[in-house]
């Protein structure tokens, strides 16, 4: 094959007759948004860039943390503390300088999601929370953009394609047809709490990139209306891979904001339960409360957990020993319980309220991480 220098790097996929020069041209013209440059987003980004997807958007507001490096292998030790989206774009530009990167150092939310997603042909969801997942799904439904979904936890992953008609059946489904309602906030664990095997998001993220490439080039059968579940611990195919066929649920779809203004006004945090709890206190309110009066502050994290808190005094009752200690807690003052992300503390507060009905107890919303972040922003 006699290739111009710009195409030499794609030689191995140009050889595939299903792709060839026509498929490569489609890839170079394609615009893909990767939402979340984390465990799923990093491998997806690397393979999309390598394959020559011409324009790639990277949306992530977060910074690189040392605990990310176990699975987000695009980042290095020197990147800790730096913007994920910008760092990823720099690395990827070295991999393939012909690609245009659009960096969005921001959280996708009501007031920017439509504007961002509109610029792209399809979206890869590699975010890590339900609120953003429902937001991205609904924006893709509103803008008619295919959504390549992926999610991981511990040893299991899910991948699928929504909002794109299956060629054989013409059926279109979306994330809400699979999961009509978000789970209760304290009934599910995040990777922060439950852990994840590093290679797993690598596998699922690369599957997402591969689905995107199938969709762009029109080859094979994309996973439209199909969720593939993968369990990396199993040794038999039946238990390792399982597929779910999703069908449209009309009742549920009437709940999706049908217009852009309805979308702008839909409160995804509230929908996903973040606003449902009278027992939560945001970081700022917590500071005001502890300045104003004497309160009891309880840390329910386990002993070795970080970050270290030395800004205020607190009692440490690890969540693993919480149940046996709960009756010793004094409820004379208002109580604020915190953990790393605010989930265990919310459980702890509910247990406290059950044990001592009427006691004034609150869980620090977003945990000590949110509080530290809030305070670092103020001090800057």
């Amino acid at each position: 094959m006699n290739l111009s220098p710009a195409y030499q790097r794609y030689q191995r996929q140009l050889m595939l007759k299903e792709i060839g020069m026509a498929g490569q041209e489609k890839l170079l013209k394609a615009k893909v948004l990767v939402a979340g440059a984390g465990g799923l987003g990093c491998p997806a980004l690397q393979y999309l860039t390598a394959a020559g997807v011409g324009t790639i958007g990277i949306a992530d507001f977060d910074i690189v943390d040392i605990t990310n490096l176990q699975r987000q292998v695009i980042y290095t030790v020197e990147d800790v503390g730096k913007s994920k989206a910008s760092t990823a774009a720099t690395r990827l530009k070295n991999l393939n300088p012909d690609i245009q990167f659009q960096v969005f150092n921001t959280r996708l939310q009501n007031d920017n999601a439509l504007e961002v997603i509109r610029k792209f042909d399809l979206v890869i969801d590699g975010t890590d929370n339900f609120s953003t997942r429902y937001l991205i799904n609904d924006a893709c439904v509103l803008l008619c953009k295919p959504l390549v979904y992926g999610a991981v936890l511990r040893f299991e992953g899910q991948v699928g394609v929504f909002n794109m008609a299956d060629k054989e059946t013409n059926i279109i489904t979306n994330y809400r047809d699979l999961f009509p309602e978000p789970p209760l906030p304290d009934s599910v664990l995040s990777c922060n709490e439950a852990g994840v095997l590093g290679g797993l998001p690598g596998i699922i993220g690369i599957m997402q990139a591969t689905e995107a490439i199938k969709i762009i080039t029109g080859i094979g059968k994309p996973l439209c209306n199909t969720i593939v579940s993968y369990n990396c611990l199993s040794n038999c195919l039946r238990n390792q891979f399982y597929e779910f066929k999703v069908t449209p649920a009309e009742k549920i779809n009437s709940l999706i904001p049908g217009t852009e203004s309805a979308f702008l006004n839909f409160d995804y945090d509230w929908f996903c339960g973040a606003g449902l709890h009278p027992y939560e206190i945001p970081a700022g309110e917590f500071d005001i409360l502890r300045m104003k009066e004497e309160i009891t502050i309880i840390d329910v994290r386990e002993k070795e957990e970080l970050p270290v808190v030395n800004e205020f005094l607190f009692t440490q009752i690890p969540f693993s020993r919480y149940e046996e200690t709960i009756s010793n807690i004094s409820t004379n003052n208002k109580i604020v319980v915190f953990c790393q992300s605010g989930k265990r503390s919310l459980k702890a507060v509910k247990m406290l309220v059950e044990k001592f009905p009427g006691c004034k107890a609150y869980s620090l919303k977003g945990g000590i991480e949110a509080w530290k972040k809030n305070n670092s922003e103020i001090s800057v």
């Binding site: 987003g41 969801d125 975010t127 299991e156 999961f179 789970p183 009934s187 998001p201 369990n231 779910f244």
Partner: protein, 77 residues
């Protein structure tokens, strides 16, 4: 009348197994009820149910040897 049950994600952590057989269940509502009684932690969990690999909405009748899969949402990325 016996069905094959498969559970995924956090539900498997609660049940301690990923697959087993359940006898005498006529429909998916009855199955959910039995599961919630056996594993009280499941009461507060949202999950989708697939009968023979198709995600169902609402109560669905079960037949002998059907495979029911239970998939909880997870959001890790």
């Amino acid at each position: 009348m016996e069905i094959n049950l498969l559970v995924f994600g956090q539900i498997a952590d609660i049940t301690g197994k990923t697959t087993w057989k359940v006898s005498g269940v006529k429909n998916t509502d009855e199955l959910s009820h039995i599961l919630a009684e056996t594993y009280p932690s499941l009461q507060s969990m949202k999950y989708s149910i697939a009968v023979n690999k198709k995600i169902i909405q609402g109560n669905t009748e079960l037949n002998n040897d059907d495979t029911v899969a239970i998939l909880p949402p997870f959001s890790g990325g």
